[in-house]
Symmetry: C2
Subunit: 280 residues, 2 copies
Amino acid sequence: MASELKDLSRLAVHTFTNKPWSLAECIEHYQAAGIPAMSVWRNVVWEEEGGVGIDEATRLVAASELDVVAYVRGGFFPAPDQAGRDEAIDLNRLWIEQALALGAEQMVLVTGAVPGLPLEDQRQMVADGTAALLSLCEPEGLKLSIEPLHPMYAAERSCVNTMSQARAICEQLDHPLVGVACDVYHVWWDDRLEQEIALAAQQERLFAFHICDWRSPTRDFLTDRTLMGEGCIDLRQIRGWVEAAGFGGYNEVEIFSEEYWAADQEEYLEKIVRAYLDVS
Amino acid sequence: MASELKDLSRLAVHTFTNKPWSLAECIEHYQAAGIPAMSVWRNVVWEEEGGVGIDEATRLVAASELDVVAYVRGGFFPAPDQAGRDEAIDLNRLWIEQALALGAEQMVLVTGAVPGLPLEDQRQMVADGTAALLSLCEPEGLKLSIEPLHPMYAAERSCVNTMSQARAICEQLDHPLVGVACDVYHVWWDDRLEQEIALAAQQERLFAFHICDWRSPTRDFLTDRTLMGEGCIDLRQIRGWVEAAGFGGYNEVEIFSEEYWAADQEEYLEKIVRAYLDVS
């Protein structure tokens, strides 16, 4: 069991947690709250998704005092044909350039999935796609963290659904820049979680730790995560495992919640900080 | 990969698949369709849940030509206190009496879950609860099959979410009447599925095989399963593993679908039979 968090020195917030805010607003409010780091989502950066553009985003981030933990998110490698897989890799190359411009330490990979393709074949496509990106990452040492998503996303969002599957891909590639992002939302139910966290850390492949809570009952497959302490995940236990394994990175708050997105974001950020200190 | 199913000799249908039908209607239509077996759900039997009562249900089943594969479902063992756990065991005793009266070969156990209780402790409550029922099952040889449910149900429905966890409880109890029900809907994503099926069968603990399909995208956590062939599960592959492991029981069709419940049930049953032969 982890001990209480005494300050915000290891807190990072994902910009998508405060989806109604622009990148500039996220930066302003996170800094004002004393939060030292953030993970930046594509939608506030990439013009194609409504962002301010990579030049403006880079300027905003460089002018801020915030660490950029991760650029979120690349991946989505599986496709039925080679042309589709090549296209995915090209897109990832673009996102990696954005991650590098922002000075992110890592880019999170959501692996992607195609309904009906054998999961085993898809995982190989993830390994191949990740491998194809490494030469672009090596000069600056940008890490790629494969994030296993909950098995409820196995059909169309992520063919990697457990820490063990993510770690298997890391072992196959055996490259110091390829590791695992552990998000409690996706893996809290797994009876091998403690062991998998320890193994990943031991292999120097535990790159990220994301927190939020599992709302019970959950009303939506995607956008009903909740604030730490408002669900059924034993966060202190899992953070205890992560810290016992030697992880020294940020605790990244990543919450998708229609309910909280509809609320006043400043008050919500205050709640996040309080929940971080009180129950995370 | 399993070979094509040539006839209906191994087909069973769960009455809940045709939720709009009463037990009498299920029996009438399954027989007319040449289906040799069914699994009977509590809601068409137990008066407390709107059923015809155990006496009438027993009479209907005895007068039919259908095998009763399973009575569905007992379980729901975890509770925060001993009184709650004792109450769960008492309810299961009642359901076992119903299963015995119906001449079911087995009773399926959905383990239950309580949000926030440690999953490991809850799994022990499942083991304890199951053990407490065995003396009632032994005289007639009624089997109890623990069904792992998808990890998306880990908070409030099932603390057992993988074949491996179910098998661990079986190994702990080590009793010939305690085994596993493998439902493709819950376990299709698991990379250890083939191995787990083989192990369960080898230990003579593979008691049941349930089929349906995972609709992509899925719109509801509970009632959006779909007909075999309309989703992304490779049914022939999994049935191949089950048969290679030596399982010789029924292929039980268990579909919860608001969409199909709203349709004409006779036409739907024809579709089930066709999908069973064509793609299962």
